[in-house]
């Protein structure tokens, strides 16, 4: 489940207000109002960039993918019917942009790349302690395992959604998640 949607279950009034304001900005952006689109960008860029950063583990690439997400979102705004939250719609675009990058680079998410974590620097400098260790371990996961772990355990997608987004079978998604969790537990164990 999208984190915003899950929060809405706790604070429906607050989220509805945010999304109502966002609906207004979406409508203005659909009419070609670039300032309205900037409002949407400001409200959502942290979430989009966070996803791109964790999935790509490359700060420069993450910024490029974030930009591509908003370029594509602007282009596709006319196809956004408002049936889903704007943040959810944008999140799917971001996932597709990142996965499209993987695909264009010739990588397949269902390929098993090896049994060990790759040495990697943490991509999220703001966290400390165990979270810092976890970020570093996530960054070191093989691409397929990292993608599924981020989408399932950090972003809250179901295996069905991940299968739809990535094009892999549900069973593959489950296997990659299990593998990611095992590698992370091993990395975090004392």
């Amino acid at each position: 489940m999208d984190a915003l949607a899950s929060t809405a279950a706790i604070l429906p009034g607050a989220i509805m207000t945010v999304e109502t304001d966002r609906d207004d900005a979406v409508e203005r952006a659909r009419a070609g109002d670039l300032e309205a689109f900037e409002e949407l960008y400001r409200a959502t860029v942290g979430r989009v960039h966070g996803l791109c950063l964790r999935m790509s583990r490359d700060p420069r690439l993450a910024e490029e993918l974030t930009q591509e997400t908003y370029i594509l979102a602007w282009r596709k705004l006319s196809s956004f019917r408002g049936g889903s939250l704007f943040s959810t719609w944008l999140h799917r675009i971001a996932v597709n942009v990142v996965l499209g990058h993987f695909r264009s680079a010739g990588r397949r998410l269902d390929v098993v790349f090896g049994d060990d974590l790759e040495p990697a620097a943490p991509v999220v400098p703001a966290v400390t302690g165990l979270a810092f260790d976890l970020e570093r371990a996530i960054a070191g996961l093989p691409a397929g395992a990292r993608t599924v772990f981020v989408l399932h355990d950090v972003e809250g997608h179901t295996h069905d959604e991940i299968a739809e987004l990535t094009g892999v079978a549900v069973g593959t998604s489950k296997a990659q998640l299990s593998r990611a969790r095992a590698l992370l537990r091993k990395a975090l164990s004392p």
Partner: protein, 223 residues
Amino acid sequence: MRCDEVRGLLDDHADGALAAPAAARVDEHLAGCRECSAELEELRRLLALAADLPHEIAPSRDLWPPIAARLGASREAVRGRLGGRWQWRLAAAAALVVVAGSLLIAYSLGRRHADVNLALARQASPVAVPASLGGSDFAVAEAELVEARDQLLAALDDRRDSMSPDTLRVVDDNLRLIDGAIGRISAALDADPLNPRLANRLAGAYRTQIELLQRATALPAEI
């Protein structure tokens, strides 16, 4: 249940994805097995830690200016989506493609009167760019080509309802890929503005994208 069977189900159990009878059997085993219980606890600690990771991570710099710069050129075209029919936009875009395309290709190939030729635009061998053609000439040609591209995009948007989802997916995927290439080449050109190979590649990327859009907007209705 044996330990190896239970451990194969712990991920689903922790996710609440097991059916009630299977979950009950796992719980029964866990009640009497310290090692498997410890496994589950360790897994739950990992999941709790992952769930607490920040979802929002601000980029190290403001990404809006480069996004706005790329979107700014299409602003008027997007406003134009609100009215009119796609056919006349297509005609206008086609005219722009010829004019701007010629300018950009002429720039990138070092010829002022080059034919609009896709093969030439994509040719692999680098061609010298004359120093006499300044960056502003290139910028004007590029902006006009971007406008032509955006008018074709608007025409494509107008036709989306008449195209199959599969076709649209293929077109959108390719547009996105070419956008990525344009972005990367543009960034490289910013750093090395007089590089003729990069100018040639940028011209080729724009032409490829416009050719794709021209073909997509010319497809017969599928629905």
